[in-house]
């Protein structure tokens, strides 16, 4: 028995018409097409049109509430817009992003408010877009030896891959702000500085050096 016959499927697969001598994985099979035209699509078409008509009627006859009205205390928050119109009034209102959405970077803080980053250069090393610039300096603190004097991320270059967060050994950089990179008038303004990223940061509970509780489990959502 030759090998290419062994490679052919024995049952349940498509009917094999021929197998290549040179490469047994290359086969000709019989393709089965639907014999008679299926007329059941008429029902599905009618159902789809009904949904479209329903939305049209609701949007046409029900008054649209403004974002201010919906923001009033007591107004149902999450479901309100669904009752009226299928359009989100961006940027006044925004849909909530998934929890793991990678947004603008932020630099986490120590308990005394200093930056957690120790300028180990793991994130610029991991960064495939070369968008992180760190200039280290000697810290004047007795506990901490090294810290970043400059920590800049060019958000135009950033491809939001999250490798910097993965590379960080001390939970100093996160991308969990849920914010987009902002549109800017010139490219220089797209550069996030240490100060702007620290302003978004909160105190991290992770023990420096990777010991202690997993910060991903105990993390608090970003404060707005």
């Amino acid at each position: 028995m030759s090998s290419h016959q062994e490679a052919a499927p024995s049952h349940d697969g498509p009917k094999v018409l021929a197998v290549s001598e040179r490469s047994p994985r290359v086969r000709s099979i019989a393709v089965v097409r639907p014999g008679e035209p299926d007329v059941n699509y008429l029902a599905a078409t009618a159902k789809g049109l009904a949904i479209t008509l329903k939305h049209f009627a609701r949007n046409f006859f029900l008054p649209m509430k403004s974002a201010d009205e919906r923001a009033k205390p007591g107004a149902p928050v999450d479901e309100t817009w669904k009752n009226e119109i299928e359009t989100v009034q961006y940027p006044e209102e925004k849909v909530t992003y998934p929890e793991r959405f990678r947004g603008l970077h932020r630099l986490m803080l120590r308990d005394d408010g200093a930056v957690r980053c120790v300028a180990c250069m793991c994130c610029p090393t991991a960064c495939p877009a070369h968008c992180i610039t760190i200039v280290p300096e000697e810290s004047d603190s007795l506990r901490i030896e090294k810290r970043p004097a400059i920590f800049e991320i060019d958000e135009l270059r950033c491809i939001a891959c999250g490798l910097c967060v993965e590379a960080c050994p001390c939970d100093a950089i996160r991308m969990d702000t849920g914010e987009h990179a902002k549109p800017v008038e010139d490219r220089a303004r797209s550069i996030e500085t240490k100060e702007t990223m620290m302003a978004r940061g909160i105190q991290s509970v992770a023990t420096q050096g990777g010991e202690g509780p997993n910060w991903r489990e105990t993390a608090t959502p970003p404060s707005k």
Binding site: V118, A119, C120, M121, C122, T125, P136, E137, E138, E145, K146, P169, C170, G209
Partner: protein, 505 residues
Amino acid sequence: MSETAAPDTVTLTIDGQSITVPKGTNVLEAAKLLGNEISAFCYHPGLKVVAQCRQCLVSVEKNPKLQPSCQQTCGEGMVVHTTDTLSTNARRQMLEFTLVNHPIDCPICDKAGECTLQKLYFDADNHDSRVDTAKVHKDKAVDLGPTVVLDQERCILCSRCIRACDEVAGVHQLDFAHRGDHEVLTTAPGESLDNPYSLNVVDVCPVGALTSKDFRFTMRAWELEATQSVCNGCSTGCNIEVHHRNGRAWRIVPRYNAAVNKWWMCDEGRLTYHDLREHRLAGATVDGLPAGWDRAIRVAADRLASGRAQGQLAVALSGTCTNEDNFALAMLAKSWGHGKLRSADINANLAGVKAIAAALGLSTLPIFELPTTVKAIVALGDVLPGVDLARLKEIEYVALASHERGPVEHARIALPIAAWAEVSATVTNSAGLVQRMNAAVPAPGQALPGWEAVVRLAQATSVKLAWASAREVHADMTAAVPAWNGLKWAREARPLALRFAGSRG
């Protein structure tokens, strides 16, 4: 093999492979010749053997105890095993001992990426610590002297630095204090680590305990690229690696050359890279105002014409510049016919300047004084020792210089040339050894290699010098200088990314 071996060699077997080595070679070096790098901390080929880290233990047949391969001299017929269970386990356990009190702060340690301990851990051990007691804490950031900072926690007490001070610098400035877990490296009583070779201790340190104040916290080792070059600080011509990134040099480290500097170099030489970014002449100037290359060359040719015609032109070569630059200018001076040639200064390449001048039949004057008849001067480099600046201001001074300082500030016409780390060239050290430098970083602004500036000047003065590359200058030069006949232009050494270089020190 052993029957035919000369009496000053011994033949032994290491891991089943036979090797013949000179008498007195230790087992570690013999294994290295076979491509088997036995792990070690305290052993350094340039320092005395102390065998105190026990990281290089190997099995020697007929010897009941494991032997440190750095101290074990090769014997005739000796059979050594380096990969057997006994010695492999012994080395692994020694590594575990070494790591007991090491802080393992690799992310913030400057040595990370070129650390012997880090490399051995990943190569041989690579498991979590089995020690659950707290590590012994010692002093961080201890100031040893003007150049070096010590982290006592990272120190693994190999004593390489102590021996480097004793044997290379010849001063006992470092020593151990206390005992056991609390043993620390410190300065010797009443001493400070201030010898002129102090930064060699940073190179020999197998961990990140000793860091250079100059390089500390500036750059991670794995981000750098190394280009082989020759130090331009003095006429010794120490072989070096320029470590650079993004077109900027970040440090200089010695490169082994048995004939010149072995493993070492002086602190002053290490810091010469700062000069590449200071006071640079980045564009041509005419009468102190910026000018393009074309205009500067044209004006220079015009103004030098009268001086040439009346034999009132002097040409100064420079020991700070490369053989090729000096040869090019010397050839131009010879073509002009009657330049008074000066050897401008005693510096890195003086031997090369003298050889070139002698070969071209030009006499050099060691002490620089401008005769009153001289109306114009073309000078290479930015050092003209002994020259009267007031007199220099009066004459037509054309400078081919990399830096705008000293006499160059008074130049009527200044032509920017590339500095030593920016060109592929050769230099000649005081012993007459011609050594090759490679371009590590780009030249700033409009600066061109010196020989190219000379070629432009030659063309403007209708002299036929048509070299297209430093290699062509080198070929003509080695043909013209008898002592250098037959020297070949070596292939360009490409930069080596240090992330692939393994450990240093």
